[in-house]
């Protein structure tokens, strides 16, 4: 906690409407670098929307209006004239259900590398191996690198998505309930990985299970009906919540 307290992402009065329904209202949050920040709250409270606004993925859907500032590393990513793919490259996304690209296991990891770096075949293979080792998948798949990724188990697919994300060397990893589709063992593997990865990356984890947040989070943001109710370091948040709604949520009285 007393690592560097630099702020990686900061939003200033962020408002999002979908088809004119307000989904996020005046969001002001700070997300510290190289820590694991959990965004918690009941389903439908705008967690995923908030997450996807960080790498400007929201705007590919219809009927979305975004107002306010999102500052990443001192740059407001909402300002015009920026190269959007560059913003997105900084942030890997892990979705609820793993979506391996329709290619082989190797090509899945190599996809981002091929786009962003001119590497020769050997360098590429090495980089892919490194990423797969990082997520503990290498030993499981090294003999079938050119099989379709869809033949892996769901848990393996999710780890492949993680490997794919870290291959492009992002600064932030956005996780949208990455364990909700997995069995308990696979979920545990992912959790451990996230804890390992927060040394090198800023990890933002959207989750609706409180226990998971308690286990892994350094910093917590509590969203309720599109508003930030409380945010702060995890220990303080869980042991000594200030807001009555937070207390109620932690006690299981509202969901």
């Amino acid at each position: 906690m007393n690592k560097s307290n630099t702020i990686q992402i900061e939003t200033k009065t962020l408002n999002v409407t979908i088809h004119n329904n307000p989904v996020l209202k005046n969001i002001d949050i700070q997300i510290p670098a190289k820590q694991l920040t959990a965004i918690i709250g009941p389903s439908g409270c705008g967690k995923t929307t908030l997450l996807k606004s960080f790498n400007r993925l929201l705007e590919i859907q219809d009927g979305i209006k975004i107002q306010g500032e999102i500052v990443v590393d001192g740059i407001n990513i909402m300002s015009s004239g920026l190269n959007v793919p560059d913003i997105r490259k900084k942030m890997g996304l892990i979705s609820q259900k793993p979506y391996p690209l329709p290619m082989s296991i190797f090509e899945n990891v190599a996809y981002g590398l091929r786009i962003h770096h001119d590497k020769n075949a050997k360098e590429l293979a090495e980089a892919v191996q490194n990423c797969l080792q990082e997520v503990g998948l290498w030993n499981e798949v090294k003999d079938r690198m050119h099989d379709p990724a869809s033949r892996l188990s769901v848990g393996q697919q999710q780890r492949l998505c993680l490997a794919r994300a870290i291959a492009v060397q992002p600064e932030v990893i956005l996780c949208d309930e990455p364990t909700s589709a997995l069995d308990p063992i696979a979920a545990q593997q992912i959790e451990k990985l996230l804890l390992k990865l927060k040394k090198d990356f800023t990890v933002i984890l959207v989750t609706h299970t409180l226990r998971q947040a308690k286990r892994v989070a350094d910093h917590v943001i509590f969203l309720y009906f599109g508003k930030v109710i409380e945010q702060g370091p995890a220990a303080e948040f869980f042991n000594n919540p200030k807001n009555p709604e937070t207390k109620a949520y932690l006690a299981g009285e509202i969901s």
Partner: protein, 352 residues
């Protein structure tokens, strides 16, 4: 459940109609001695009786319904083979009269002197189909991508129904337009531009042009369907790795929607290959090996349309045309099977 009590049964309109028709049938028999009307109403009564009986007896209703469905299903398979059988049977006449190689590799088509060489027609068909696909496929795919991935929602909402309507416009209407617009255009502008001054406008190129326009809506609407069925999370996965939109389209969406796109192209090919009326209106209907794209020609399908009126005067011509239809059927069959196996392989490997 059907009503059980008498009152309940009387409430049922069908039962009322049944009783009424029985009553009427007796009136007509005894009061007017009109046997025809008696029979008519009696038949109505019997039908309603049987219908009600079936309704009441669930088991029978079930069994009968299931049997009828089975019958329809079997009959369509039967139809498939009957079609093939009748076409083969009809072709036997011409095949016993002339050898297969004579038919396919000779290029003189003169029904009145008994010559049925199809070589020129086959060459023309290949040329016309190939050109129309070369024009239609890239343009349709690019348009479909734009409409599905790039276009603003308003534009999409206008264009999609428009494309769907045009996919249903009869080919004869397309043919008429080609006659009005493209024939003069090819004759006066396009052909002279490419240095052939004697074109009448009725040409292979004109036919290819109208075919490609006819194929646009078919390929586009099918492609749109398969682009739209690509999960949005897959796009997000690619975009969040820092890929541009086009890179995502090229490497991810095309792959994920690949089977559907391929099916669309195959269907477009089938349409271009077998189109009869629009082609026969503008191709010039001459069974020649073309010297230029701007000269007249004849495709397999249009050959049938422009020769069928003579079948009563030259009996063997009928057999020759049936043989041509058999070729059309078999080519479509082969292409469909080919497409099916390609799709099977592709979707097994790259499902998402």
């Amino acid at each position: 459940m059907p009503p059980r009590t008498i009152r309940g049964m009387l409430k049922n309109k069908l039962v009322l109609v049944g009783i009424l028709s029985l009553f009427l049938s007796f009136i007509f028999l005894f009061l007017f001695s009109n046997f025809f009307l008696f029979a008519l109403f009696l038949i109505i009564f019997i039908i309603l009786l049987v219908y009600n009986f079936i309704k009441v007896s669930r088991k029978l209703y079930d069994a009968l319904g299931t049997r009828l469905m089975l019958l329809a299903t079997v009959s369509v398979i039967f139809l498939f083979f009957l079609l093939l059988l009748i076409l083969i049977n009809g072709s036997i006449n011409i095949l016993s009269d002339q050898s297969l190689s004579d038919l396919i590799f000779s290029s003189t088509w003169k029904p009145f002197s008994g010559k049925f060489g199809l070589f020129a027609v086959i060459v023309d068909t290949l040329i016309v189909t190939a050109i129309s696909m070369v024009i239609a496929v890239p343009i349709s795919l690019l348009s479909a991508i734009y409409i599905a991935e790039y276009a603003p929602k308003k534009f999409r909402n206008i264009v999609r129904p428009f494309i769907d309507v045009l996919a249903g416009v009869p080919s004869v209407v397309f043919g008429l337009c080609a006659l009005l617009v493209f024939v003069p255009l090819v004759r006066d502008d396009i052909a002279p531009f490419f240095g052939s001054n004697i074109s009448s406008g009725f040409s292979l190129f004109t036919a290819s042009l109208i075919l490609s326009i006819m194929v646009f809506p078919i390929i586009i609407s099918l492609c749109l369907e398969s682009f739209n069925s690509v999960p949005i999370a897959l796009k997000e996965a690619s975009l969040s790795l820092g890929a541009t939109k086009w890179e995502t389209v090229k490497k991810v969406i095309f792959r994920a929607a690949g089977p559907g796109v391929l099916a669309a192209i195959f269907l477009g090919f089938g349409r271009a290959f077998g189109e009869t009326i629009a082609v026969s209106m503008v191709i010039g209907n001459q069974e020649l090996i073309p010297k230029s794209l701007f000269g007249p020609g004849q495709t397999l399908a249009s050959l049938i349309a422009s020769n069928y009126t003579e079948v009563s005067s030259i009996p063997i011509l009928a057999s020759a045309l049936i043989f041509v239809a058999l070729i059309l059927f078999v080519v479509v069959l082969i292409f469909n099977l080919l497409g099916y196996f390609v799709l099977q392989r592709a979707s097994k490997r790259w499902k998402y």
